[in-house]
Symmetry: C2
């Protein structure tokens, strides 16, 4: 049986969850596509890399088997693989080094899947055009709302529709903190509780200041509305200025405050906003607690269509599924 | 330029809206697929049929141009077309004559698109297998939630996931009446107001008794969960027994009553239920007014994913888009 060889650049929680899920769907992939999926190269941030053209036994992998001197770019250059998965931690302000990883893999005519939103927020059009020129595919479903089909819904199932507007709640950390604060918990205590539950990172400033949501909105607008903006172009206000009094005042009016993302066109120019926003209690946004997220796209032929993720963070398996669904998309399109 | 020839069996609001939308996306189809879409045959319920292998000018069509004696089956048998669109009115209790139309077209090796849910609720597996045997495609996106991608989301974008449960609100009429009754309007007056606004049909019994929702739930379960049930198998209770007191009591508990559809497995057996159900105010179902509908699928790899339609009925254009999206899917798959 022919094989589909996969390189994982980045091997944290998502990479490891993906390796497990790939094993779980190995028979499905063999039956559906006549291909045996094998992971032939892995690069980690701190432990170096490992390659084996025959396939790595990820279940029994230990870090002492890794070559400490093997860097990500070495694995990309010299690994034997068909699909590269970019799973390294994001740098929201630059999109690097993930963008360099993807660019190199595309130059080598490898298909690329990225769960890292940085490259799609900062360099989507360049990478899209490079993939097209090289005759390979670039997939990025896991970059927004984990494995929930946002890009695919718009591109595969709303064919022929023009997307004119995007709305949504895309950041779990801020959504968790606002929900906790509604219950009367202080901003600081909510952050602490979020850390305990795994919603909030050690340094949550990228989330609290709206950068994470801005990068996701940028990625969506670049892909679905064919724009060429960066996260710097988003009109961005975080949640640090929101007080218990603000939330109480909203509640008294039968409303809530949510960190909404909104992308639209004004006089032909793309406007992106990430801002704490007053929403009505019957609004889609109002029922989104920290376990949920949503995106609504407005289209010319179908009006508004919304997709909702349940059990948002820290469901690492949902991100892994996003990577798997991209792999299945690549296999479908190249069959 | 090669052509894609389309037969419309049924030419009411949806068929006419589809013809207009097809014209609107004619250039897109030419550019994307290198094919000129033409409607070459139309069958109506009362005015007979018309065929023209060179393409019909639907914009300037009048009923006096139709052949009164040309029946649907004649058009299917003798029309020159590649894709048959089944757009006749539904008979929920039998799925006929739509099922016979589809069977015949498939036997003639034509691709089939149906906006009529009857055949999918009653005879999905037979028709699916026949289409496969004949090497043609059978599409049915418009049968549930108009053109919102329900089937396509599950089949195209949640690849590799097993669907274990389906929930949703699928009938606008009952949702409208319950919403009106919450405002204090009587059951009878709500029906009358619904008629005025176009939500409620002249004889609304199929909606009020839950048959329409049952047929949709059946179609979803047959396609997405690979079941072989009929609408008769659904445990069905309509909304005629719901009183203002029931709604007030629910409201006093911070809840609402909605006509929920629920399909799931119990000891390996498929259970389908359509029943007035008490839902929490923060539940997805609670925010669905008559302009909205939703389906939530529960999957093994991605947990729950929800898709929401806004501006539900009487948005005839959304149904027309469902037919168009199926046409684009057929063109994509046969390119």
């Amino acid at each position: 049986m022919d094989r589909i060889r996969i390189a994982l650049i980045g091997y944290g929680n998502v990479g490891q969850a993906f390796a497990r899920m790939l094993k779980r769907r190995e028979d499905y992939i063999k039956e559906t596509f006549g291909l045996e999926p094998v992971i032939t190269a892995i690069s980690t941030g701190r432990h170096g890399g490992i390659t084996n053209a025959n396939g790595l036994d990820t279940k029994n992998l230990t870090y002492d088997m890794f070559d400490k001197d093997l860097k990500a770019m070495d694995v990309i250059d010299f690994g034997e693989y068909d699909v590269m998965c970019e799973l390294t931690p994001i740098n929201i302000m630059t999109g690097q080094p993930a963008t360099d990883h993807i660019r190199r893999a595309l130059e080598l005519k490898k298909h690329v899947i990225t769960a890292n939103k940085g490259p799609i927020a900062w360099h989507y059009r360049e990478l899209r055009d490079l993939a097209k020129k090289q005759g390979v595919q670039l997939c990025y479903e896991a970059t927004v709302m984990d494995g929930v089909p946002v890009y695919n819904m718009a591109q595969e199932t709303l064919k022929g529709c023009k997307i004119t507007e995007i709305k949504g709640i895309l950041n779990a950390t801020t959504n968790f903190i606002l929900t906790e604060m509604e219950k009367g918990i202080s901003y600081e205590d909510a952050i602490e509780e979020g850390r305990r539950q795994g919603f909030v990172e050690a340094d949550p400033s990228m989330d609290l200041d709206g950068w994470d949501a801005s990068a996701k909105l940028t990625a969506l607008m670049n892909v679905l509305m064919d724009e060429t903006i960066t996260p710097m172009d988003i009109d961005r206000i975080g949640i640090s200025g929101i007080t218990k009094e603000d939330l109480d005042k909203a509640a008294a009016e039968g409303k809530k405050i949510k960190l909404l993302c909104h992308g639209y066109l004004k006089d032909g120019k793309a406007i992106g906003e990430v801002k704490p926003t007053l929403v009505d209690k019957n609004d889609m946004a109002a029922i989104m607690d920290a376990t949920m997220s949503y995106v609504t796209v407005n289209t010319d032929l179908m009006g508004e269509v919304t997709v909702v993720e349940h059990a948002f963070e820290p469901e690492i398996d949902h991100t892994a599924y996003g990577v798997l669904s991209d792999l299945l998309r690549i296999l479908t399109n190249t069959r």
